[in-house]
Symmetry: C2
Subunit: 327 residues, 2 copies
């Protein structure tokens, strides 16, 4: 296992501490139970809390800050956070208008956030993200998985919360963003969970996993490795089908790397995908290219589309100051 | 070769086009000869031009924008840009106060920028970056190599140029930043140059290359893989020796990934390095953690220290708006 690591037992805690050290102007760390939260708390606004298994960094801890999340709860690698983390985080950041919990649709995450929600004596509600069109049900969840579209939901709802939207409006907006967002990915290599010490799955040098999940779980099928042009076509087709976009529609394109894919390749994918979307009559209005929702060191990438209207565009453009997203 | 790629021949050009598509508000592309430049040109200020082999993204194209570079010239992968790229870029961005060319110390880069400089009929001068303390001479260059400290030089000098420093002052500042900056890295895996199609070097599952260069060139020695604590100690010792920092001195710490190392590991390295520097009596005042100066998909990381004074600190803190660095 070739990783910069001392022990699998310390990795999540020490890495979160390293993140907060590097961004002490924005973030604070609660060591036990573990969560990362905004150093400068909101007042009189809906608070956003998210979380999930570690190994997807910068999701979610890298999106805590002005205009996005108020707190993020990292579980162990690919393992849901515990309810006590979520409860403590919600109590810390609640600012008088209730708490919206953004949850990726995995069985473990749903259970932990549900228990936390039952324990919390405050106004709170859950927003489920399930943007992955690859499979209807997976090894980790009933229904579609939540993947790279999650940060788009967090960005837009975070902007609305910052501007004073109430809890009902934030949830309703998030539901709408999720419904207008679709993702699908492909893996070229596996990743290695530190506690396991061996690759999550085997894959031949000439193969790729189409529709892979962000924990290395199986997707639609195993295919021969293809040129980038063909991979982009393979990923875009189900996204366009899922969103049923009419010609002329505006979209946000997010090209996401899974952690081990360098920017030079992600920008190549972006050029191809942007051109294809334009050829399909769509207006690509905004872009996000980078390793955002990762699977440890997996080589691979996903494409995410969000259908935009004026409201969603202006929420995307609203100022944001977090470690990994800022403008 | 597991990469998102169509052909090695198109990769650099198409990837630069993808970057510019995603940041069309900031950047423009010159297709032939290839360079990336600021969409909104400076007026009456020193212009900064950099460049080098591709495969180190986001360096340099990801640092074009307000407060940093005016243009960047990407060569083929791990190959210096040609003089005609540099000449055309300098002519495009020159804004009345001359051009400073920021060059990493490699034989090919030095030669190309020298030829370009001789061809240019304008006030221009070269600033050499050689922050890598690993080896005195390498397979690619006489003298120390220029590595991850380059972006720190580009950020600080870019801020000074934006504020109106003249060409002499910019060069003199850059020389000072370079002298106060030291880097060293370690590779866990090799990378594969697309044109070559095979790993640049062989490395066993239990080994790491200490002092590796950003093209996979050899460093100080091959060692057994160590825990992260020991790797940080191994990297920091020569940096502290090189910079001879007195207790109480302020530093900037840059934890850089080589492209295939995920953030969860880089933040762990940051926690360890920050703590060690504090234990050594230094004040870590600023941090930059991420995959910034990469070697394609290589798993590995480097540590860079820059000794700060009030001037350098304020230049680091000055606003910057580029694809990969903005605050």
């Amino acid at each position: 296992m070739k990783k910069f690591i001392n022990s699998p037992d310390d990795l999540v805690q020490d890495s979160a501490a390293g993140l907060v050290m590097a961004h002490a102007d924005l973030l604070a760390l609660n060591e036990a139970p573990l969560f990362v939260y905004r150093r400068t708390p909101k007042q009189g606004r809906v608070a956003l809390v998210s979380g999930g298994g570690s190994g997807h960094e910068p999701l979610h801890t890298g999106y805590v800050g002005h205009g996005m999340l108020d707190a993020a709860c990292p579980g162990q690698v690919f393992t849901a956070p515990t309810p006590d983390q979520i409860v403590a985080a919600a109590q810390r950041v609640e600012a008088g208008q209730g708490v919206l919990m953004v949850v990726k649709n995995y069985a473990g995450d749903c259970a932990s956030f549900q228990v936390a929600s039952d324990m919390l004596e405050m106004e709170c509600t859950t927003l489920l993200v399930n943007d992955d069109v690859a499979v209807e049900h997976s090894t980790r969840t009933p229904g579609r998985r939540g993947v790279a579209g999650t940060l788009i939901v967090e960005k837009m709802v975070g902007a609305a919360a910052e501007a004073g939207a109430n809890l009902y409006e934030c949830k309703s907006l998030g539901t709408r963003v999720n419904a207008n967002t679709a993702s699908m990915g492909v893996a070229l290599t596996s990743c290695t969970v530190p506690e396991a010490g061996a690759a999550t799955f085997d894959i031949e040098a000439c193969e790729m996993e189409v529709g892979v999940g962000i924990h290395g779980e199986p997707g639609r099928h195993r295919s021969r490795l293809m040129p980038a042009d063909d991979i982009v076509a393979l990923l875009l087709e189900p996204l366009l089908k899922d969103l049923s976009l009419a010609a002329g529609r505006s979209v946000l394109l997010h090209v996401n790397g899974f952690g081990g894919t360098p920017l030079i390749e992600l920008h190549l994918l972006n050029r191809i995908a942007t051109q294809r979307l334009r050829d399909a009559g769509l207006q690509v209005k905004r872009w996000l290219v980078g390793n955002h929702t990762t699977s440890l060191e997996m080589a691979g990438a996903s494409l995410t589309l969000t259908a935009l209207d004026d409201e969603l565009l202006s929420l995307w453009d609203a100022p944001v100051t977090t470690p990994s997203l800022r403008w």
